[in-house]
Amino acid sequence: MKRTINILLALVMVAGLVSCNDGGNKKSKRGNQGGLSSNAAERVYVAPGEHDEFYAFMSGGFSGQLGVYGLPSGRLLKVLPVFSQNPENGWGYTEETKPMLNTSFGFVPWDDSHHPDISQTNGVLDGRWVFINGNNTPRIARIDLKNFKTEEIIEIPHSAGNHSSSFITENTEYVVAGTRFSVPIPQKDMSIKDYKGNFKGSLTFIKVDQETGHMDIKFQLMMPGFNYDLSHPGRDKSHGWFFFTTYNTEEAHTLLEVNASQNDKDFIAAINWKKIEEYVNNGGGQKVPAKYAHNIMDENTHTATSTMKTEVLQVNPMDVPGAVYFLPTPKSPHGCDVDPTGEYIIGNGKLSADLTVHSFTKMIDAIENKKFDGEAYGIPILNFEDILAGVVKQPGLGPLHTEFDDKGNAYTTFFISSEVVKWKVGTWEVIDRQPVFYSVGHGMIPGGNSRKPFGKYFVALNKITKDRYLPTGPELTQSAQLFDITGEKMELLLDFPTIGEPHYAAAIPGDMVAPNSRKIYKLAENKHPYASLSDSDTKVVREGKEVHIYMNMIRSHFNPDNIEGVKVGDKVYFHVTNHEQDFDVPHGFAVIGANNAEMLIVPGATETLVWEPKEVGVWPFYCTDFCSALHQEMQGYIRVSPADSNIGLSWSLGED
């Protein structure tokens, strides 16, 4: 009975909403979640066969990967493997991709990926690459947006918790990697009690080659032992500067939730990187020993190489006067965000009731007039009042991150009060607030990290899901929520689950990337040393205990398909080349008893899987990706004989 009444009530309410839907004045009548009263469904609906307007690259957080979603639909388009092995396509399992996960700590097949950022030219997104940081084993990856593939990973030495990363300058000159945890540099066996004054924080500036995208550490700035939390490049008028928030300026080493929250103000470190670059170009800095891996995937050999580097250039800020300043910012600032004009630097004190906004112009003025309020480890501290542009009063609890639209508005996320607050840059007045579900971390506006944001959507990247979707046991996916921000008020359109933790995201209009997206690798350009580009290249070669099988595949067969002469104890390398030259026709390769993964080989590429047969028998291999009408027939056998057998290698190429 109660249920019936509820349904009736709901019907009455729906009828009421529909009947007063006068179209012209719709927006003001929408409730905070008013999916029924608005046409939210229509505005996120992408009809079959049509494409989303934006690509959103959403960090996979503790999955170590990068999720590619379409906006506004929220559809997951692809999971790009970056720092973690991915058995779906053999990433990190095949011989070609294993070097990508090499580090000075050895093979690290997982990470905690946080902040994707899209390359820019003149402060505008250009759609060439996405960079993302590995937080745990400090690394930065570059994903090429032609191939949608991780093509480079560089490890960051002298760093621990690569968190204030991987943000880029407005011409992609530099990607930064700031350490969240300060550590002894160089590492040594010492008492943790002696943290204060002895640990250091490194801020690493990685130069990006504009042609190839290749990364190379240009210099590491050795900063005091604070925690470098987040960062943001200056842009437009503040181009040439980089800003890093800090916490634990107390340099506490135990119970940080209390002991690192004592100072009323921590700092934003303002770094004039152009000045340091000039200093370094003139021979400044000191080369010190370091051990870090630099891994590059070659587009033509389809093979990654890992090089261990042995030194890095260190810069002491004391040696470059005028390059580094501290901006006092209340209280344990987390997000550090610069508005599209480059004038305002927003430091969100996560324990502060207010939002603090610094003025770049005032900062420069204070520096020129030497209006300092002391120093920390020799680095001048500017006077809080002198650089303050304004304060957004009592906007919410636990401010974290701020993004900007193209109309002079800022959108700040509030973790504790679980909401997004829209405010006006310059007047600091709050315009709107919307609850999110639940506990939002970063927010994202496409191009929000650039001079030219596409202020159509805001995506809230939430930490807690609770009742938003059907429950899936104790472990729930995290969630993202899409808001329309074209009007005065934000409007919730959609929420959708994400992989891992959608820590931060970056988005770009589809038409800036899609036309360049690769369809196939040309077989004629395949320079893999073990490729079999024609059937006459196929062969099986024994080198001691290693057997190399040069195999190719095309709908719907392997060549060779029956192999004999392999023995228990051999190490068998399947080098498989996909001969298809047709878009979207990869083939898979799997063999029974493989201890690593299967492979997914895209058209024109070669990949290698190692298989170590342990038992005598005739073992099948087959295609794992449904490729054609005769996919089921795409199979072969490999005969494994006893270790002391004298059966020679033989194979068949389709003959009876």
Partner: protein
């Protein structure tokens, strides 16, 4: 016959377009080929519309046992056709030039047109024979053997001209730029014939009047 001679020369020169543009175009579209596969048939050989179309068509055709699309060296036509066209262009230009100089009758223009038409028809006939051969001489070990409703083995001859549904494919076979250029060129030679005749008749009409006057 100056005007007619010039038209004749232009008309026959238009045939040179065949060396640059495809004569015929066959397009195969299917649900899983939103970008249809296509082949351009030139007098010197067959090329895919996109770089890998031929490979992909061959890949599909092997299911039903069709031979691979012929390479240049596989068919005598691809060496003979260019020579025949080259010869006809040269002949046309020479006839046009002689006509321009008044050395030959306008009837030669029509003669060239008739010879060209016969060659064209022979070419089409040959092309159709090739399509029949290609679509019916199937590998007995073909993976898929399909029957027509009447129980006869299905054949896969693409249409000589027009549209046809073949299994899951929509096949379109139409003349391409080169064909339109021959057509225009041949029409011009017909125009040359009529213009030549008109010019001749005008000359014949005026001559009897002039003659007595001179006499």
């Amino acid at each position: 016959m100056k005007k007619a001679g010039i038209i004749m020369i232009i008309g026959s020169l238009l045939l040179l377009g065949l060396f640059k543009f495809p004569l015929w175009n066959i397009v195969l579209g299917a649900p899983q080929y939103p970008d249809p596969l296509g082949m351009d048939i030139y007098i010197q050989g067959i090329q895919g519309v996109e770089e890998f179309d031929i490979q992909n068509i061959d890949g599909l055709n092997h299911y039903i046992g069709m031979k691979t699309i012929p390479k240049v060296e596989d068919m005598w036509e691809f060496s003979v056709f260019p020579k025949v066209i080259g010869l006809m262009v040269a002949l046309g230009v020479i006839i046009g030039l002689l006509g321009f100089l008044g050395k030959v009758s306008y009837k030669w223009f029509l003669g060239w047109f008739i010879v060209m038409s016969i060659l064209g028809l022979l070419g089409m006939y040959d092309f159709n024979l090739w399509l029949i051969e290609y679509g019916t001489d199937l590998d007995p070990k073909a993976i898929m053997k399909l029957l027509n409703p009447d129980g006869t083995p299905m054949t896969y001859k693409p249409p000589l001209l027009g549209y046809q549904k073949m299994l899951n494919f929509d096949v379109d076979s139409w003349p391409a730029t080169g064909a339109y250029m021959i057509f225009a060129g041949m029409m011009l030679t017909v125009v040359a014939f009529f213009v030549g005749r008109y010019e001749y008749k005008k000359k014949v009409k005026t001559e009897p009047i002039l003659k007595p006057a001179l006499a």
